[in-house]
Amino acid sequence: MHASTKRTCLAGLIAVILLVLAGFVFQHWQTWILFTATKAIGYGLVALGIITLMRGGLVSFGQGLVYCTGAYASGLMATRLGVTDAPVLLVVGMLASALLALIVSPLIARYRGIFFAMLTVALSMVLYGVLVKMNAIGGSDGFTLPEPTFLGWQPSVDYADLALYLLAAVVAVVASTATRLYYDSMAGLVALAVRENELRVEYLGSSVFKVTVRHFTIAGALGGLGGTLNGMALGHIDPLFSFWTTSGEFVFIAVLAGYISVSAVFLSAMILELVRSFSNLYFPETWQLILGGFLIVVIVFLPGGIGSFWERVKEGRAARAQAEQEEGAGS
């Protein structure tokens, strides 16, 4: 195995251990954090998909489409077919959304910039419009989900949040590790090249179209995971999952994180969820105002996202090391 692959997998392993430990600590200290963290992971997974798209030069403003599709596919599986096993539902939600994304992506793959962004909004709003009117599955009220089970085990009420959190943490780490490995691969580098200069990519004999389809499908799978997870966390799903303001929050997280670092996504999702809980508590009327203001501040002061901040620290260290080296050579 390549050294960098080993390093990434090791980091994933450490992250799982830390997250699981943190889960047991919070279970006995501040249980609400577990619920918030699970939701943040759900959001973070969807944003991870947007970041993958961003690396190929695209931003989707309509990831609510796959988020909602995943939630409804797994939700219907649970209510209609009585499948309550969380891991199974996650796989179902992921596959349903990935499939939808795969079907849709050839239609939108030739658009760029705001056209791509707005077309994805349009698609998510079509789904919203359809779901609102489908009274058979709850219309605009949506429906309530049964409590999930975990490989046959039904946790007691006290441990339900912890169980879901632990599953979410494992899913998050597996998804991030896989994504990181992809970013660092040859294919991931070519995708970054698409972002910088499509013409040259085509003139090197590689297909920009394929990269876009691949990314949109990956983003679909991640969105489906996130939607399923949040459906289970909230216990209720409705068409607002596909509304464009929901998608806006995913983009917010992605921009706050930047496209460089994978773990920054979950950090920024957690920040968003904490700000949301905080403002729900103290300023219930002005949540959007705070979110909007926060977004502007981020764009003005941290244009590359949190991830770029880490990168800058790293670069600074490298520059200092080089300066020292030169100094050493000079003396």
Partner: protein, 300 residues
């Protein structure tokens, strides 16, 4: 389908298209000149509607005849544009010129979020009803059916707005300068054009048009939270169908969306939003840049 049904759909569709056109005209103008797709445009429409609700209340208060509410609505739209355009363009958007267009899209999304709560803080969450002006023009009979005169007046207003913007751009010196800036802001700046002023002017007109549409549709709707979201979604469909940055495109797009919606409401009310986006998706599949734009190969 009876002829009368078709007529009803057509008239309803065109009335709907007329105010939608005014909103989309502002959106497309801002995009054409500043290259910004303004997600907060629907909120500006909403602020216009709220301002009109407040201003028209002043008409009976000062003992003026009801016809003055038409003037009050115009003043409301103007006031909104005078306050918000400089704050938003000079105070915020200016900081992001030359940055990634998707980033600017996100900034306008932030503005949307902020304006949503600000309108709630200023006007509260209870609905406002501005019915009186709608009675000003009585009823008009077309083919044995009666239509509200005020609604038909909106069609005239839309035509005036479209014509005014078109003439302003093509027949005035300032308009020519605006076209020059659209063509190439850098060269225009070198020739001594004060590009900043042109940006502010275009943004001001765009905001004014959004607020104007909001003000004059206030009598048709109940003014309450959520109207902004509907409008932005619809006007996006309009400009994307017509082609971003094109005035005739906005007109055709508005008609397509207005009539498609009226037909849907009449025939399959379940499918209202769905139909509009379906139309948009179909147009995009066949004409990627919208009906009124041509794609060009980049010179390399």
């Amino acid at each position: 389908m009876e002829f009368a049904d078709i007529l009803t759909i057509l008239v309803d569709g065109v009335v709907y298209a007329s105010w939608l056109f005014i909103v989309a005209l502002g959106l497309t103008l801002i995009f054409g000149v500043l290259q910004i797709l303004n997600l907060a445009h629907g909120s500006l429409y909403a602020v216009g509607a709220y301002a009109a609700a407040s201003f028209t209340m002043l008409v009976p208060y000062f003992g003026l005849p009801p016809a003055f509410s038409l003037l009050a609505m115009l003043i409301a739209a103007l006031a909104v544009a005078l306050v918000l355009a400089p704050i938003l363009e000079r105070g915020l958007l200016r900081l992001f010129y030359g940055r990634d267009e998707v980033l600017i899209l996100l900034v306008t999304y932030a503005v949307f979020l902020v304006l949503e709560d600000v309108t709630k803080l200023v006007w509260g969450v209870q609905p406002y009803y501005v019915f009186e002006p709608r009675n000003l023009f009585g009823n008009v009979e077309i083919g044995q059916l009666f239509y509200v005169g005020y609604d038909l007046m909106l069609i005239v207003l839309a035509a005036i707005c479209g014509l005014a913007v078109w003439l302003g751009l093509n027949k005035t010196t300032t308009g020519k300068v605006v076209l020059a800036v659209i063509h190439n802001p850098d060269v225009s700046a070198c020739m001594g054009v004060r590009v900043n002023w042109i940006y502010l002017l275009a943004f001001f007109v765009g905001v004014f048009l959004a607020a104007l549409a909001g003000a004059y549709t206030a009598p048709l709707i109940s003014v309450q939270p959520g109207i902004s979201v509907n409008v932005i979604i619809l006007s996006f469909a309009v400009v994307i169908i017509g082609g971003l940055g094109s005035i005739p495109g906005a007109a055709i797009g508005a008609l397509v969306v207005g009539i498609a919606r009226a037909a849907a409401v009449y025939e399959f009310p379940e499918a209202e939003i769905f139909i509009i986006y379906l139309v948009m998706a179909i147009v995009l599949v066949f004409r990627p840049e919208g009906l009124f734009q041509r794609t060009q190969a980049r010179k390399i």
